[in-house]
Symmetry: C2
Amino acid sequence: MTQQFPELWYTEKYTQHFNSSIRIKEKLFSKKSKFQLIEVFDTYEFGKVLYLNNALMVTERDEFFYHELIVHTAMTACAEAKNVLIIGGGDGGVAREVCKYPVEKVKVIEIDPEVIEVCKKYFPEIAKGFEDKRVEVLNQDGFEYVKNCKETYDVIIIDSSDMVGPPPIGPAEILSSREFMENCKKILSEEGIFVAQSETPIFYFEFIKEYLKRVKSVFPVVKYAVIPAPSYGGIWSLTFASKGNDPSEPKREAPSGLKCYNKELHKAIFSLPNIWRMDEISNRI
Amino acid sequence: MTQQFPELWYTEKYTQHFNSSIRIKEKLFSKKSKFQLIEVFDTYEFGKVLYLNNALMVTERDEFFYHELIVHTAMTACAEAKNVLIIGGGDGGVAREVCKYPVEKVKVIEIDPEVIEVCKKYFPEIAKGFEDKRVEVLNQDGFEYVKNCKETYDVIIIDSSDMVGPPPIGPAEILSSREFMENCKKILSEEGIFVAQSETPIFYFEFIKEYLKRVKSVFPVVKYAVIPAPSYGGIWSLTFASKGNDPSEPKREAPSGLKCYNKELHKAIFSLPNIWRMDEISNRI
């Protein structure tokens, strides 16, 4: 074994006072697109890793935790999902999991075409979600798309980059707005499920409380879930909402062969530590 | 606000290729005891933090996640726990939570008296567990204590420092041995519950698989749980074992006023991602 000097490390700031660092084998790609800084590295611990604006988005080693849990929880909670809308999702992982169901149409609204190109090149196992014929990709602003949309969707998945964190944050900030949520509600079917990545409660719980308050002011049913996500600081969170359908209850079987999701875990991710419980949150707000 | 240069950061290695760093306000204590390097820092993100041999043990801000989940899961699974044994537990947090029940005797076997003294001084809210009259502290080797013990315990809690990780590991390594587990089984009551901190599955799952294999070769009932633990890399794991009593089923109410533990979470921590499920593990071993 030859030792390499100097060692290369990539440091991701969670806050001004806490960060984590991954040792880099090699820089594979780096470019400032119209919307954000896109970087791809090969790492020792997590395989290939994608960063957008210095925030870790996806790793080869553990992407299935997040992708399976955001998709299969929503898709099994909705008994018959024909039309699925993905806002963000530029790596293709969410589309890949959605296509394991008998859906008719999957629309991916990714603002940055360069993210998709980079993922097709460096993460083919994730980006293969784009190969399915039912998947249509539009390079548009998700906020604008939803605002002007005339279609109806059974499952809406907000698979965005960060809405909060150390600057620069990026184009997803507006997806935490009440107007965006109201527009999502308008195009959600009666039995439909809305789910959004909603950051880590470890460092951003003040943001999340305000976020949940907004979702609750729009949707009659809102449930907050905390999921394991190794390379996202260990845990991450998802916010589910609907017009009445209970997102914590699976109504059909998930496809076989999954590495993370199962029916027991579906229910378990909604069982929260007292300090992160939504009933506690509404009491405190 | 005056800016301080240079900034002080403490970096904890999870593996050779991944670490996390906490910004330090001030170093409060540092000494090499007979057993390990003991350090206490005041930090911006987590309040005061204790490190043993460079591994983060406890933080003021989030200690309740781990302490409540290891204690209240075990204590409510055992309907009537009179005698409780704690191996390690030098910060006092486990004893503090155990004393919220009508127990008769709590024995803390902490090998390093200097850890206890440091925690009493810098973490009084955690170390107040030692003030209860039912708590007896013995500064002995936990392995030797259990080997020679003639008493019987209803709950045995292994609240040790790390058994695996980058060197130096420290005195807890031997607590992953089969001999230690066999000796614990000998002194566990028929309805008793054994629980051990068992590292993070994110980085040490190969170790954990071997560890669980050993526990399963000793105890008829073994259940593996994954818990939220912000400053431990986001998640940590606990291994529960018994002679027949189901650790995943609470048999009595927990005390009120807890920040993390509740009955739903008790059941949820045993619902695991497929790749960490014990049935999968036994298939693969």
